[in-house]
């Protein structure tokens, strides 16, 4: 009965008003649908935080790239007594933080003094698990290392070799660890 009354009232509303009402309802439905979708798919704040972090990282990399391009190509050291380019303490820290690559030459050099690491490295097809270059704040020194792992006569082994970076190699595009002092 109540429904009928409303229906009759609704039918009595003139066409323009009904159309206008329809438009308002449609607008509300569209906005409401988006609100529901936002609850399901929206990532809002979390994403902004992630992206900001990413942008900071990109800005940092850009700065480091600027530094690298200002350095001469060749071997870079931070001590006296060689003809190579000598890094200032500030440059030394920045180059350390910018360096990501440890080439095979440096790994072979470090392995030379670690028989077990060298053995696992050789029998597992010269495979390296991971590498790292870190700035040690306490000592104000740059440390680099790598991990080798594999099966050594039926035993699974994992060895991390690390040491102080004695010098870097600048290619003009990037910088690489040139020698790891692991003794």
């Amino acid at each position: 009965m109540l429904q009928n009354t409303y229906l009759v009232k609704l039918m009595k509303i003139s066409e323009p008003v009904r159309q206008f009402g329809g438009l308002i309802i449609l607008t509300i439905i569209v906005i409401f649908s988006f609100a529901i979708l936002n609850n399901i798919f929206g990532e809002g704040e979390e994403l902004i935080a992630k992206m900001k972090k990413e942008e900071e990282r990109i800005a940092e990399t850009r700065k480091q790239n600027e530094l690298i391009s200002s350095l001469p190509s060749g071997i870079l050291v931070f001590y006296d007594g060689t003809d190579h380019y000598k890094l200032s303490p500030d440059q030394y820290e920045k180059v350390c933080k910018a360096t990501k690559i440890i080439p095979q030459r440096a790994i072979m050099g470090a392995n030379f003094l670690n028989f077990r690491a060298h053995h696992i490295y050789t029998i597992n097809g010269n495979k390296i698990d991971e590498t790292f270059v870190k700035w040690n704040k306490e000592n104000n020194k740059c440390f680099a290392g790598f991990t080798v792992s594999g099966n050594n006569v039926g035993v699974d082994e994992k060895i991390t070799v690390s040491g102080e970076v004695l010098n870097f190699l600048s290619t003009g595009i990037d910088t690489r660890v040139y020698f790891i002092k692991n003794f």
Binding site: L23, V30, G44
Partner: protein
């Protein structure tokens, strides 16, 4: 409330605009939003969100959904690619007999079908090409290369250009008289002496295969749709989408299915050319009056006889207009097919544009346009020619054209033979003028371009900078600034106001497809460019159309100009604008404006023409001035027709914006262009094509609905 009842639509639009702008200002641009980063741009970034559907992993930057929707249809291109790969390589392997190796070989069915289709079409193209230019491929198809090397005489000689020119002139004379004959002869001679004979004949052979095949398929499907409602209903959505689908987009799946070359070009041309043929066949057959059908039945026709002896001959004119449309589409596709390796003028044009050699591009473009105009005139003359069923003609009168053509063949052969003795440098100019031996105006045009740049550099630069900085960039930014929820409110609201809830759902659905694709931002850029073009085109077209309509001669002149401009393949429009504005967005937009002004002008004139003269008289008798008559009577009555012009203008503008990607834009067209050179581009190309088609369909639906209602309201339906 009274005001609301008095101006209901005005209030609805006002409310809609208020709601739209409120949403635009209420929703901020997310801090992390960058246009180029947009949605899934197929780069890996740890900040992207991912989902996997139907085995496809989609990466995207998740925003607030009020701002941008996640690309939930991102899997579609990948899925299309995988499906095509599966169809071509794995589905239904069947053993087929291989003629070359003389053994059975297992091949997937679709691959085998496409390969057979490819060889059939390649054979047809080669056959016609060798009739026109000479060659051995056709003979080889029936014999072998060994046989050809043993019998060096066995090759198709090719027709001398004089015979083709004479044939075109005779055909022109038969269909329309001396004027067309003269035009046909001039076009053919021009092509020949300007050294464009070979590429022109390559293009012509392409069209002579694509056009008849499109005609046969279009006619067949049109008849089927006429006979069966189910077929019509099944075809309707495809026809609708194909009308607004950019031709570029269908190239990419064609590469996957048919490879590259002339054959793929022909097949894709058929895909594009068949829909208008179906529509015009259907229109023609529907237009046959019931009395004619009844007369046919009373004469004892069976269904087949009724169709081929009564219905088709009665609908002849519409069907032949369909042929005209097919030829025009074939010409525009002749250039676009060059992207997938079709030879001919289109390829030369593309090459010249790539090298920024405007002179060469202009020469090739002019040849394409001239041949297009010639074939357009010939096919229209054919459509308008009345068959004289009762003429009592003598043998000579009946067959004089064939006799003249036989004579032309004989004289042409004698000339070519004599030429072989006269021209002893290795080039027989009476047989074929080689590409590099003809007259070339390329240098002249190139110097012209240099002169324009030297003389007007500053002016052009100022205009260019002003347009880009003060007009285009703010407009682009405004479009990209639209939150998706506001866009939906605007589009669906407009649909509701114009056509009720049904229209709102249709346009909402089409927009949703684009919004859920990974290219919403690009779609907005496409829309902004098209909108800019449409606004300017409409202002120019409506003004020029209205002014020209004031005089009978200027009306006919302007319609003639529109006719000619409409026959130019769309790529040709890029040449002059590149001459003036170089490779910039301005060039694309000016090409869009020029191209899209044609329908705006034409439909304005046609609309004003459609106002019954009795109303003019009635108005004059009521004492209205010319301006009052125009504003109060002619415009309101012509408006539905003019709006159909607007519809066409939008479609033309969209097509040109997509083609403009060739000279560097950042819209959907650019991605379609990229997809052509991408091994896995078929899915992307097709999805992007659908996005463009849906943009067109949204406007198409809104305008057509409005026009229908308006016509009903004015009682001119």
């Amino acid at each position: 409330m009274e005001l609301l009842k008095k101006y209901p639509k005005l209030f609805q639009w006002l409310f809609l605009l208020v709601a739209f702008f409120t949403l635009c200002f209420a929703i901020d641009v997310p801090e992390t939003y960058k246009f180029i980063r947009g949605q899934a741009e197929f780069i890996k970034d740890p900040n992207q969100s991912t989902y996997t559907l139907f085995g496809a992993e989609v990466r995207y930057y998740a925003f607030d959904v009020f701002w941008r929707l996640p690309p939930l249809l991102g899997w579609l291109p990948i899925w299309i690619n995988d499906s095509l790969f599966f169809l071509m390589n794995d589905w239904m392997p069947i053993e087929f007999w291989n003629e070359d190796t003389q053994e059975f070989k297992t091949q997937p069915l679709v691959l085998q079908i496409t390969r057979n289709l490819t060889s059939f079409i390649t054979f047809l193209i080669e056959l016609i090409r060798e009739i026109l230019l000479g060659g051995v491929e056709t003979i080889v198809a029936f014999t072998s290369w060994d046989w050809i090397s043993e019998n060096s005489w066995a090759k198709l000689p090719g027709l001398p250009w004089t015979i083709v020119a004479a044939g075109a002139a005779i055909l022109g004379y038969k269909l329309s008289g001396k004027g067309l004959a003269l035009f046909a002869a001039i076009v053919m001679i021009y092509i020949s002496i300007f050294g464009q004979w070979k590429p022109s004949m390559q293009t012509l052979s392409f069209i002579l295969v694509a056009a008849p095949l499109s005609f046969i398929f279009g006619l067949g499907l049109g008849i089927a749709a006429f006979k069966s409602k189910r077929v019509e209903k099944a075809l309707y959505p495809i026809l609708l989408v194909m009308q607004t689908m950019p031709q570029y987009a269908v190239l990419v799946p064609a590469i996957v299915l048919f490879g590259v070359g002339d054959h793929a070009g022909v097949i894709i041309t058929m895909v594009v050319a068949v829909p208008p043929m179906i529509l015009l066949t259907l229109l023609g057959l529907r237009g046959v009056s019931p009395e004619v059908i009844e007369a046919g039945r009373m004469s004892g026709c069976n269904n087949l006889q009724l169709m081929f002896k009564v219905l088709i001959p009665t609908a002849r004119r519409d069907i032949l207009i369909g042929v005209n449309q097919v030829i025009m589409v074939c010409f525009s596709m002749a250039v676009i097919s060059a992207f997938i390796g079709a030879k001919g003028l289109g390829f030369n044009l593309l090459l010249a544009l790539n090298q920024l050699n405007i002179g060469l591009a202009l020469e090739a473009g002019l040849c394409i346009s001239l041949i297009a105009i010639l074939l357009d005139k010939l096919s229209l003359a054919w459509a308008n020619k009345q068959i004289d069923y009762f003429g009592n003609l003598t043998f000579f009168q009946r067959y004089k054209n064939i006799i003249f053509f036989s004579g032309a063949i004989l004289i042409g052969i004698i000339f070519a033979y004599a030429g072989s003795f006269y021209f002893k440098e290795g080039f027989n100019y009476l047989y074929e003028i080689p590409h590099n031996k003809g007259i070339s105006t390329a240098d002249f045009w190139n110097k012209g371009v240099d002169w324009i740049w030297d003389t007007f550099f500053q002016t052009l630069k100022i205009f260019n900078t002003w347009l880009i900085v003060d007009v285009l960039q703010p407009m682009r930014a405004a479009y990209l600034r639209m939150p998706i929820v506001a866009t939906f409110v605007l589009v669906m609201g407009a649909g509701y106001i114009i056509g009720g809830i049904r229209s709102a759902i249709v346009v909402g659905g089409l927009t949703l497809f684009i919004a859920l694709s990974p290219w919403w931002d690009r779609a907005l850029v496409t829309t902004y460019m098209a909108t800019f073009g449409v606004i300017l085109s409409c202002v120019i077209g409506f003004t020029v159309g209205t002014l020209c309509f004031q005089n009978k001669h200027s009306t006919n002149f302007m319609l003639g100009v529109c006719d000619i401009f409409q026959t130019f393949p769309s790529f040709v429009y890029l040449i002059p604008v590149m001459m003036l504005f170089g490779v910039t967005d301005t060039s694309v937009l000016i090409a869009v404006v020029v191209y899209a002004t044609i329908p705006a002008t034409r439909y304005t004139i046609e609309g004003l023409r459609s106002v019954p003269p009795s109303l003019h008289d009635a108005a004059s008798m009521s004492g209205v001035t010319k301006i009052q008559r125009l504003l109060k009577i002619e415009f309101p009555l012509a408006l539905p027709h003019m709006m159909l012009g607007l519809n066409q203008t939008i479609v033309f503008a969209l097509f040109m914006v997509i083609i403009g990607a060739f000279i560097g834009t950042e819209d959907l067209g650019q991605y379609i262009l990229k997809a052509i050179s991408d091994k896995k581009g078929a899915g992307i190309g097709l999805t992007l094509g659908l996005c463009v088609a849906f943009i067109g369909l949204v406007f198409d639906h809104l305008i057509r609905t409005w026009v229908g209602q308006r016509k009903k309201h004015l009682g001119i339906d």
